[in-house]
Each structure stands twice: as structure tokens, then as C-alpha cells.
């Protein structure tokens, strides 16, 4: 075990994958010698050479198009999109190519070996072009997997699993926690299962569901609620697609209440999908309407970032409202 921040954990996962499999290649804007604008790819070029870790021209559609072809060829690309906010030029390549390649070819070819890494989320004074949480756009694409870790330990294990998984994975990294989250991480390899939620804390009165950087926000809200005698169960969804409905549903059977928290705007956010499924499966078990604590339906603001964020106090208030319904 070693103390690592989230960036170091990601770097450690990339090193171990590149050591194990010479077909793993890491590329994107500034990821080469410089090691990426956040330093997630530090020393990879020095260790593995320019042919396996390299800068690309500044073209997101080119990066993902190139990565798709490389994956279809049988290599194992790990492509970086510098900010989640800048992934949209590659949207066509992801929606129409990455995700459909296996299906449209009847399984003859696929992009299964591809992993796309991208930082997402706010809390860094990044305004609307360095703060967005675009997971819901990608959750609407059959064929993709979407994974979001909450801390260094989850980050390393989930990234290794994403690279090894034979399906294209969008791996979204909570950039607010890149250096802020520090924890014990095994120096050796380990995998954490994709498509599985993680019950962070058991409780009996209400289920709090979040992912990525918002998990620590709901933990903080839960601590406030516990002071008032409310027992909270906390679940980190971890995989947005396919998502672990079973764990969430079983938790709601037990607590009868559900609160979902995400940074992305409320309307059409992934909480909507979860709420629809849970009311379908748990209708007679629900003691209160499902609560959503999310970003506002505005572009991500700068000066009003603190007000915009679905923070622990908004979450705490929503817990109380749900309990008092």
C-alpha cells in the first residue's frame, strides 16, 4: 500500500497496464513528455517511449476516430480528452462509431479495447467550459460503458478493469478530487467490477445515491442527518452504464426512501432514469417521492458556482423533507 492522490492512482494504473501489455497505448493532447495538463500521464513517455505514449494534434474527433481504428485493429488505446467539456467534437465518433462498431459488423470487428479518459465536474472555478458533467449524454448510447470513480482506490481498480474490459468504456475522472482525494492504494494490480455499485455505508431510513465527487458531499450531508437521528445508507453508483439497479432497488426496499445527487443539470440528468426505474420496481415500498438534488438547468456558472452546486446543505435539507413527507 502507498498513499496516493487520485492522479497518482490513475498514473499507477496506466503504468501497470502498459507494463503488462505492449499493445496498450496512451495518447491525447499534451499527454506526452509534458504528462498531461493534470499530470495523469506523467513519465509514461519517458518509461514506454514516444510510440506508445504520445501527443496528438488538437482534434478531439481525430483522437477518438484514431482510437476507434486502433482498437478495431486490436491494439488497446487509452485516449485522453483533456476536459469533458471538449468531448463534443468527438460525439459522432463515440455515438455512431465506438458504440456501434461491434453491432453493425455482427461481431466481426469491435472497439471493445478502447478506454476514453476524461476529467469532468466543477468545484475548480472553471466556469461553464471546464466544469460540466456530461455523463447523461453518453448514458443514452447502447454499447458504451461509463465509469466514474470517487477516490484513488476506486480509480485505480476501476481504470484497470475498464482497460481490460472488452467493451468501450468512457472513464470520467472527478477533477476536483485529482489532488484533494488521498488514500491508501495497493501498488500491485487489482480490479474492481464494472456495472456494480458500492455500498459505502449502511443505514435504514433513506438511501443516498451519488457518484464521483458527489459521494463525499452526500457523506457530509449524511453526517448532519445522523446528528438528527436519521440513518442514511450511502451508495456510490460507480458505473453509470450499465448501472447496478439491483443494489439500488434492494436498498430502497429496505429504506423506503431515495435521494439522488448529481452535479449535472436536473432535466434529463441520469437521476431521472434511476428515479423512473426505482418507482417502477419499488412503487409500493416508497414512503416519499424520490428526491433529486442536482445542478440547476443553467450553463455551469462561474461567480455563482457555490450556489449552483448540489452541496451538502441542499442535500441535508432534501433528506429532511423526504423524511418529513
Amino acid at each position: 500500500m502507498a498513499k496516493m492522490n487520485l492522479l497518482q492512482a490513475i498514473n499507477s494504473a496506466l503504468i501497470s497496464m502498459m507494463e503488462q501489455n505492449e499493445r496498450v497505448m496512451v495518447f491525447g493532447e499534451d499527454v506526452g513528455h509534458f504528462g498531461g495538463v493534470f499530470r495523469a500521464t506523467s513519465n509514461l513517455q519517458q518509461k514506454f517511449g514516444k510510440a506508445r505514449c504520445f501527443n496528438t494534434p488538437l482534434t478531439e474527433q481525430g483522437i477518438i476516430g484514431f482510437a476507434n481504428g486502433l482498437a478495431a485493429q486490436g491494439s488497446v488505446p487509452v485516449a485522453e480528452i483533456q476536459f469533458g467539456d471538449y468531448i463534443f467534437p468527438a460525439f459522432d465518433q463515440i455515438v455512431n462509431e465506438t458504440a456501434k462498431w461491434r453491432y453493425r459488423s455482427g461481431g466481426q470487428f469491435s472497439c471493445g479495447t478502447l478506454t476514453i479518459r476524461t476529467p469532468y465536474g466543477g468545484g475548480i472555478a472553471g466556469g461553464h467550459y471546464h466544469s460540466q458533467s456530461p455523463e447523461a449524454f453518453f448514458a443514452h448510447i447502447p454499447g458504451m460503458k461509463i465509469v466514474i470513480p470517487r477516490n484513488p482506490y476506486q480509480a485505480k481498480g476501476l481504470l484497470i478493469s475498464s482497460i481490460k474490459d472488452d467493451n468501450p468504456v468512457l472513464f470520467m475522472e472527478p477533477k476536483r478530487l485529482y489532488r484533494a482525494a488521498v488514500g491508501e492504494v495497493p501498488e500491485t494490480d487489482y480490479e474492481l467490477p464494472l456495472g456494480k455499485a458500492d455500498t459505502v455505508k449502511e443505514g435504514s431510513d433513506i438511501t443516498l445515491l451519488a457518484w464521483g465527487a458527489q459521494v463525499e458531499i452526500v457523506e457530509k450531508a449524511a453526517a448532519l442527518a445522523e446528528e438528527q437521528g436519521i440513518s442514511c445508507e450511502i451508495i456510490d453508483l460507480q458505473s453509470i452504464l450499465p448501472w447496478d439497479a439491483e443494489t439500488v432497488i434492494n436498498s430502497v426496499y429496505k429504506t423506503g426512501r431515495l435521494l439522488i445527487n448529481h452535479e449535472a443539470p436536473l432535466t434529463g440528468g441520469f437521476a431521472s432514469e434511476i428515479a423512473a426505474t426505482v418507482q417502477q420496481e419499488c412503487f409500493l415500498y416508497l414512503e416519499a417521492p424520490i428526491a433529486r438534488v442536482c445542478g440547476l438547468d443553467t450553463p455551469y456558472p462561474l461567480a455563482h458556482e457555490k450556489e449552483y452546486m448540489p452541496d451538502h446543505l441542499k442535500t441535508f435539507e432534501a433528506i429532511k423533507r423526504t423524511m418529513d413527507y
Partner: protein
């Protein structure tokens, strides 16, 4: 990836100089003139009678397939077709210059390359009838072929997406130490897509052994080339990206063959991309959903019909004493009969069973797809007469 100073090649000037002429004077390689005679001082590529015969047959086959399938579409037997009449030399002769291990990533009008690679008549038909023998499992519209054994990447409809993918595929071939390259086909219209610019730039910067083969056929559906771009064709863009570039007469089999041979050798040996711009003309409609009478004249079409690539190649074969007209007629008759027979077989083969609808979305179907399939099957069984293709079938597809 070489280290370079971005000013090292730049000369100074002390008078403002605006470059106003976008035409770069890029010549077009032509080895046979429009009557099939070798052009002055031309060096023809090595080609024997057997290969010439195979090329000719592949071009005829492609045209006959097109004719028959347009007919089948008009009869309502298939939903859609997209012909390549006039462009057979560009697609067949370029494929001739490749190695069987080279990957072909095509747009959708390159059936000529697939014919030359040996795709069978029955395979064409199974794909176009979306039946359960189609390796794509009936999931794509007619003409979206793909065949792993023949190194022919499954086609997708969105234009230009295959261009940066070809760069990546070629990079992977290079890294794996393969003695093979990738060829990527597209039209001059698709070259307006961002993916074209992204793909060429990446291939040049990352030294990808790839041929970008542009069929400049004058039209993107109804939009003529002069409304598509203002510069000197597509070739000038290759030069801008630092990609080795050659322009060729796309209706001249020997010129296309020679240019692609040179490009392949260069791509493989120097590990670099090469752009070929083949100047040709789409004699057919864009697709069976298109009617060119609304946007171009009969006179224009007739002008280009005179440059027909098949006629030109036959004229050259004639001068070599290689043209056996009787044998060609016999080949054409047999091909027509084969196509019709295969068509009749393919249209009777059932579609894939319903279980297949959730296969290949992921490597294995996750819980939510399985749940949706179970619900769908229960529904189909409730109204079997409304879903006759899939109701009451076992997994293998027998009714």
C-alpha cells in the same frame, strides 16, 4: 514524430506577399488516353493478360451487380441500392495494387474493391437481403458490407468517419510490425467533413502507413464539386497537411493501378500516409433514392459516358490482342445468371431470430438488455401474426 522548429523552413520577405492563386497546378497522371492508347512517354505498370482479364471481369461484374440490384430495388425486393457506374476503374484498379493483408476501409461506393478481393455473389446477396447468413446479421442497410476474412472493414453510413479511423488502424499495423497498410476510400464531398482534416493531419504527424483514396466524382448527391470547395480539388489539401500526394485519372485503369502501387510502396517503406485524388465521374444516380435529372444535364452525362473506364480498358486490351469478346459475353451471361440465382436464394433465407437483437451491443448482454428481450418476446408471442418474421421460431431461425 520528428522534432522540428516551426520557423526553420520559412523564408523572409520584406514586401507583403499575399498568395492569391489557390490552384497549385497539380497534374493528373494519365497512362491511357480516352481511346485506350498509351499516352506519350507513358510508362505502363507491369500487367499480364491474366491480371488484365481479372480486372476487366471485376469491372463488368460490378456493373452487372449494380444494374441487377437497382432493378431489384425498383421491384421492391430490397430497400436501397447505391451504384458505382463510371467509377469501376478507380475502385477495382486501386484494390489490385494492394496486398490481401492490407485493410480496406471504404465509404460505400467501393464494391469494385470487394469484388476484386473475392466477395462472393451469395455474400453480396445475403448482406443486401439482411438475412441470417449476412455476417452483419441483417443489421445494416444494403451495401454496408464487411468481411473480416477479406480484410474489408464493415461500412458505416456517416461520411468521413473512416478517415481518422484508418489513421489509427494503420498506426496499429505499424506498431504490430505488420507488413501491411490501410487504404481508406471516400468521396470529395466527405472530404469537407472535419474527420477528413483530423484524419489526414493525424496520419501525417504520427506517420501512419495509410493510403487516403479520394474518388472525386464531381457530385455529393446533388451538390457539384464547385459548390463543395473552392481550392485545387482534394489533392491540394494533402500538400497542406504534409501528406505525399498524387492526382490520377480515375477512369484510367493503368494510371490508378500505377499510382496506387507507388503509394503503397511509399506508405509501407517510409511509414507515411499518401493521398490519391482520382478524378472520375459518378455516371449513376447517388443512390436508388436519387434522381440526377433534377441537377445535371443529359449532355454532361453523355460527355462522361464517352470516358467510360471499361470501354477504355477494353480498347487497350484490344490493342494488346488480349480482348476475347466472346469470352467476355459468356462471363457476363454467367454473372447475370449467378446474381439472379443467388438473389432468389438470399430472399428466401429468414432474418436472424429475435434473440439476436441484443447480441453484439456488448460482449455479453447486460441485465437490462436481457430484461427488455424477455418483455419483447412475451409481447411477440401474444401477437404472433403481427410479427411473422420472428414469432414461434427456435433460436436457429426455423419456423
Amino acid at each position: 514524430m520528428q522534432d522540428r522548429n516551426h520557423l526553420s523552413h520559412v523564408k523572409l520577405t520584406h514586401k507583403a506577399k499575399v498568395i492569391t492563386n489557390g490552384l497549385l497546378d497539380i497534374p493528373m497522371l494519365q497512362l491511357l488516353d480516352e481511346t485506350g492508347k498509351p499516352t506519350k512517354d507513358s510508362e505502363l505498370p507491369k500487367i499480364d493478360q491474366e491480371l488484365a482479364q481479372k480486372i476487366l471481369e471485376s469491372m463488368h461484374y460490378t456493373r452487372l451487380l449494380d444494374e441487377r440490384m437497382i432493378g431489384a430495388q425498383r421491384q421492391g425486393r430490397i430497400s436501397f441500392y447505391l451504384a458505382s457506374r463510371g467509377e469501376e476503374a478507380a475502385t477495382v484498379a486501386s484494390a489490385v495494387a494492394l496486398d490481401a493483408n492490407d485493410m480496406i476501409m471504404s465509404q460505400y461506393r467501393e464494391q469494385g474493391a470487394l469484388v476484386f478481393r473475392g466477395y462472393t455473389t451469395q455474400q453480396f446477396m445475403n448482406q443486401m437481403f439482411s438475412n441470417q447468413e449476412d455476417p452483419n446479421k441483417g443489421r445494416q442497410m444494403p451495401i454496408h458490407y464487411g468481411d473480416k476474412a477479406l480484410n474489408f472493414m464493415t461500412i458505416s453510413s456517416p461520411l468521413g468517419t473512416q478517415i481518422p479511423q484508418a489513421s489509427g488502424y494503420a498506426y496499429g499495423q505499424k506498431m504490430a510490425g505488420k507488413d501491411a497498410i490501410t487504404i481508406c476510400y471516400f468521396g470529395e464531398g466527405a472530404a469537407s467533413e472535419g474527420d477528413f482534416h483530423a484524419g489526414l493531419n493525424m496520419a501525417a504527424v504520427l506517420n501512419c502507413p495509410c493510403i487516403f483514396f479520394c474518388r472525386n466524382n464531381g457530385y455529393a448527391i446533388s451538390t457539384p464539386a464547385e459548390e463543395q470547395f473552392a481550392g485545387d480539388g482534394i489533392a491540394s489539401r494533402g500538400i497542406g497537411y504534409g501528406v505525399n500526394t498524387i492526382r490520377v485519372d480515375g477512369n484510367d485503369v493503368l494510371a490508378v493501378y500505377a499510382a496506387t502501387q507507388i503509394a503503397r510502396e511509399m506508405a509501407l517503406e517510409k511509414k507515411c500516409p499518401v493521398l490519391i485524388e482520382a478524378m472520375t465521374y459518378r455516371l449513376s444516380a447517388h443512390s436508388t433514392s436519387d434522381d440526377p435529372t433534377g441537377y445535371r444535364s443529359k449532355e454532361e452525362e453523355q460527355q462522361w459516358a464517352k470516358k467510360d473506364p471499361i470501354t477504355r480498358f477494353e480498347a487497350w486490351m484490344q490493342t494488346k490482342g488480349w480482348l476475347d469478346e466472346k469470352a467476355i459475353e459468356a462471363f457476363k451471361d454467367k454473372t447475370r445468371a449467378d446474381i439472379l440465382n443467388a438473389l432468389k436464394v438470399a430472399e428466401k433465407v429468414p432474418v436472424c431470430p429475435i434473440e439476436d437483437i441484443i447480441e453484439d451491443v456488448y460482449d455479453t448482454p447486460p441485465w437490462h438488455l436481457q430484461k427488455q428481450l424477455d418483455e419483447l418476446k412475451a409481447h411477440i408471442n401474444k401477437y404472433p401474426e403481427h410479427y411473422p418474421k420472428t414469432a414461434n421460431r427456435d433460436k436457429k431461425g426455423a419456423n
